[in-house]
Symmetry: D2
Subunit: 431 residues, 4 copies
């Protein structure tokens, strides 16, 4: 690896060396146990090492709620500093080689310079995100909608912004545009549901037409927030219809926090795979609404069940299956760098567990309606402690066995706190 | 009307005559008030009088829960007695000229005789319902599924039953088959989501192939119950895809109680209208799950908002818009006849309110983002007390101004309690 | 009334005179109809005219979400301007003679001057609200809690702020302190549930000790937000226990948006009345979470059912029953003045409807388990169009029959837009 | 162990011997790993071996929904056969030495004979359950309530039944009565919330008065079902108040499926412990409502978080902390014996994981608001694969390492299918 480093590689090696023996022992005994289930731990480790999930550039700033935001010291003040922070996540955790930028927050005059800076860390750019849920100075307001606004001129502005995002993305090497709009209503009667969706489709057709041949457009649905009575792309049903109306390059992005309470999300994932419309994921966790908590912190079994669908699709070579993975969390009470390192590892762990499911056995139990054993087949995989696999994958790729510990020892946050004096307004759009 | 009557028409007239003057006064003053809003009360009354909603034959038996069923006296013991009860609902309320039967519960050897009995009351048959969520003696079990069962022979049995339902429906003059399956799972891993839906589509294609040219097939979705982890047709998204895969004659039926908490149901209705897949409704109300409570008893504003979408579609002549309306309630603590009379009137009232919305004004406010006035436009219509309109429509059609009072005075339930000795097992499928 | 006016009273009279005849006609015909139910419309009107609900000072600024805030023109920039706006709400709607201030947002050096300004409009001050969910410059941070913080010094700071709020409230003639804290956690394990509540009780005991004899302390519970895994005062159960532990002056405030999905809020209200712990209300409406939408805009029947409990308590002289009423809404897409006028009228309307319930009849039906008629007794009252009563109460008190129309005609917002240039940061804490 | 056996002990030993070496290896390597965390695996194993959870006698019959019940072959037809089935669960799994009976279902003329039969298997009786949610021949109906019924005579009947349950329980050596009522309403207005609760308290005071000195009464709350608008003991708040009003012997039982969606149940557990009112648990799992699925099958992390509270209380010797543990599941698609064996082991596993939490470290992180590390401290314990501990505890107590496999090999179900011909009605109250 010829990359530039924010953390001293010697520190990583020194710290690893202190606990490497323990890791090897754990890895070996797990390997023996898995062998009894006819699983080769090395194969699993290799797959985990290959698994990557994108970091959202806005995720390295402190998040907040409508009530308050409590910034961390040393917050990144621009996209270059965000890239620096993301490089630390990648250097220590090895799971996040790509970044997903957000415009206009991350707009730069010199995209080539930005790509170069990222590349110096081994980083490249993933799907770009447009923003028509906030106003920009001198523009028409999105208060009453953007791509679905009753006024044609606001819609045109929103379409133009999305097309500009594609241009910005092209300059950064990206291959996809993610479109999330907050459009919706707070009052019954505020807008006509049907007309709003028609306007959405009209606007999106224009954006779609501007997509390069090798690009995709990812549509996000969300039940509510910032609109509290209705949202135009409110669920996967509307998302699916929109993606189908637009064409093959349009797919549905699943954010785990964007569904109604009690909804079976892994089933929605299965449906989108089956009908070739799964774009990918915004990973996070939630208990109530779109809480944007750290992945796997509230319902880790659900995350596993999502990965169970993904690995099943992978193992049957489901046609058109090639999802994009991204973390999308709001870090209100933790150091975002720590949360992102930890969450990427959690996502990898869910993938590892799903790889351990004995799929032939599972199908057999399903065929014979041996319900308890089918369930136990999943549970056996889920309850396997895969920490040694994930840590080994990380170490073998040059990362830290215990990345949060090394991050803290390196004093990165303290250093940035000195270098980046507190701004009065946060670096993210979340204020 | 040459029909046969269960309730003495003289009684109806006598009771009406006692309160007719009050009704006329209320109707007149409401008429004046509506005139100020440029609404002709007679036009509205005529539309309400034309509005019809089907009675489910199983609805006249007492419902229950998994814990207990507390039967009413005089419960109908077979489809002929159910027709008698339904005729009372129609005679007094005038809103329910059709019946929706359920097989095998309502299977008879002599359908012509059944049609004749119904016709003698002015009743005819609406969509027929199949039942593959309960076992029948001598058949393979649906414990682990029906149209989606892992075993081909169970699927074949379920397909054959649905095709038989079409045959039975043809003999009764019906034009649609409603398919609700309880298929799903109680455990993660129990079945493969994708394979289950593929089997569903295969089975349904066979049923679809058996549909006469002028028939439709109505698919119901439901989030959960009787399956508690996953349900094959779990939401409108899957329902829409299934209906689309099957063809033009397949549409999506909305049961108001079959959605996740907080979901915006009126929006789903709008989406299905927009994409020409709204089959119609199973009306009821609910607070928690599929509670099957009386329509409008918990959230009457939601029922109005649903009708607001229906009237909007009607008024813009939305292509393909021709929904079927049916009550689907479980009457656990009321006399089912009273609940059905009252619920039909509640549904009519919601329709009446939606007809009062000033749609030109509404569109104007929506165009100009005058949110408060757009909302107040709906609220003005909703808060209008339409009881005089609904009662007038009923009286003019020969029904009772106060149908529940007349029903009680007629002593129908007491008479049936004598004629129909209590059975130990309920007449409905809900046990 | 010797008060000072923001809206020309001649305009109100002129506008009223144009529609007064219609109102009188509607009022008279409703009166006749109610007479048939043995209800005297004048008695009801008088009660409605006496009913008052407080305006929150923060409510006159535009609200927002964590994603964005889209300010209205002419927003009030300080508490004096907020009082001006609140006076308009009161002058036109006559339902909101008191204001509920929020500290430190509304802190002034000269409370006597503020009281005088308010009094010149006929306004006085209701419960004061403390704020320990946001940081103030130079203070210790509430990022990890306030009254429940693990650090004693942060708790002391939060206690001192609450005691200061009492002092500020005394100077304004207030008699109650409302305490809502955002304290809670975003991660399982972040804090110990038991220790947090113990610290809460310790802190609150100190605040309680500082209450004057004739003051009360109102505790708000909330399921989630800004904390997304757990909240210290998460529901009415914990609220009840806390209020009981503190003593007689502590009671539980019900914000309609602070409960879990599907929870029966009117029942919680009944329980708090029964056990003498109902402090009062923060009225608003919601579909998903704490959406803070306009009262009665989403589920008006629920609002009626809450008032049904209140009127029942009133009519049986429930011991200790004396709730405080306040609006607490976030006006993101409407003019806050319009929303507050309209919401106060909606709340009055719910009260009016609840007054129309025939309580003797209701009890009779309940005693005999005549479920349908008991329900219809409520529905008859709910479906009565009480607009003429509420408008008459308003007109007789010197307000506008159609207050929103008069407000618009008066050009108040346009005038303020000129007088109050847009600030870059909103006047409320919600940014 | 001198007990009588349903499964050949030689079979258990033979089967164990085939996999004992693997277990020992896994146990040893886990032991080493835990040692590094300063945890002695033997201490944990001993605690797990001591942990017991009661089997509900009704749980060995097949459950059902309001739509259907699909019975298993060989269902127990009376309490003696239920005891036989429960003995198999205990013999193989060693976690369930007590049974919780339900009256009148399990009423026998000769309780001494029943106790003897149970004792022959090493079994004894736990809390008894009353049933006033179903009618019994010749009795007044509970259709409109039981302990809260508007009629005094129905309430007296329900009180008498509960007192009889205490008598029956005394004869069986039980020390607690669990009271769950379905009382509530399906319609707004059906009953008065306040009067209903007053009647409940009056009735319960009579039952309480009949409690022997060394008995307790456990009150269950439930949000809904069988009542769908309101339930008298709807949540832990009302439960807590009722238990407090009744006295020290009354406590609150937590059924994991009886709460509103998204509610933080572990926090409710913590509150009840803190205020000395936690009676114990009905363990099960759920995704939507009271689904009564197998414990830990849907949200195993939640089950762990509940145990985390229990172990925390245990480790700080929380005053009055002595909860009763019981499984309460509805086995609709599995063999109930298999589900109960597996669920008891799942519950033990959750306990084991909670024992692995480093509580000193956790408190330290909480004190210093090191949120990520506090969370990781829980996660480290949760993600530990404790299967070897639970299996070792079972084997050392004479049970099977793989109890489901041994159960199947023993052919118990097939044998019972021959001995117990199918009844047409299920043995449980769920029909």
């Amino acid at each position: 690896m010829s990359e530039h480093e924010m953390i001293d590689t010697q520190l990583i090696q020194d710290e690893n060396s202190k606990i490497e023996n323990d890791l090897l022992k754990d890895y070996e005994s797990l390997g023996e146990r898995l062998e009894r289930r006819s699983i080769d731990i090395r194969t699993i480790t290799a797959k985990v090492a290959d698994y990557a999930v994108a970091t959202p550039t806005w995720g390295v700033g402190t998040g907040g709620t409508r009530f308050a935001r409590f910034p961390n010291p040393g917050e990144p003040r621009n996209i270059f500093e965000k890239v620096d922070d993301c490089s630390v996540i990648y250097q220590l955790g090895r799971a996040t080689p790509t970044l997903s930028p957000h415009f206009p927050w991350d707009r730069v005059d010199n995209p080539a310079g930005l790509m170069e800076r990222a590349a110096s860390y081994g980083l490249s750019f993933d799907a770009v995100n447009s923003n028509t849920f906030q106003d920009q100075p001198g523009q028409e307001s999105y208060k009453y909608g953007s791509l679905t606004h009753a006024s044609a001129s606001v819609r045109e502005q929103a379409v133009a912004h999305n097309i500009e995002c594609i241009e910005l993305g092209k300059a950064l090497g990206s291959k996809a545009l993610t479109v999330w709009i907050g459009d919706g209503t707070n009052f019954p009667g505020q807008q006509d549901f049907t007309a709003s969706l028609e306007r959405y489709l009209d606007s999106m057709r224009q954006v779609y037409a501007a997509l390069p041949d090798d690009w995709q457009i990812f549509i996000e649905h969300k039940l509510y927030e910032p609109a509290f009575y209705s949202t135009v792309i409110q669920d996967w049903g509307t998302n699916y219809i929109a993606a189908t109306e637009l064409g093959e390059k349009a797919k549905c992005l699943v954010d785990l926090g964007h569904h109604a309470p009690t909804v079976n999300i892994e089933m929605i994932v299965a449906r989108l795979i089956q009908f070739k419309k799964l774009a990918g994921f915004h990973f996070n966790d939630s208990k109530y609404g779109d809480d944007d908590l750290d992945s796997g912190s509230i319902d880790p079994f659900q995350l596993f069940l999502v990965f169970n669908e993904l690995v099943a699709a992978e193992s049957r070579n489901a046609p058109g299956f090639d999802p994009a993975y991204m973390l999308d969390q709001s870090h209100n009470v933790t150091d975002p760098i720590e949360s992102l390192i930890n969450s990427a590892a959690t996502v990898q762990g869910s993938y590892a567990r799903a790889l351990l499911v004995d799929r032939d056995q599972l199908v057999g139990y399903q065929q014979s309606n041996d319900v308890l054993m089918a369930h136990k087949t999943l549970k056996l995989a889920y309850e396997t402690d895969v920490a040694p696999i994930v840590a080994m994958a990380r170490m073998q790729s040059g990362g830290a066995i215990d990345p949060v510990a090394v991050y803290r020892k390196a004093g990165y946050r303290e250093e940035k706190a000195r270098q980046r004096p507190a701004s009065t307004v946060g670096s993210s759009g979340i204020v």
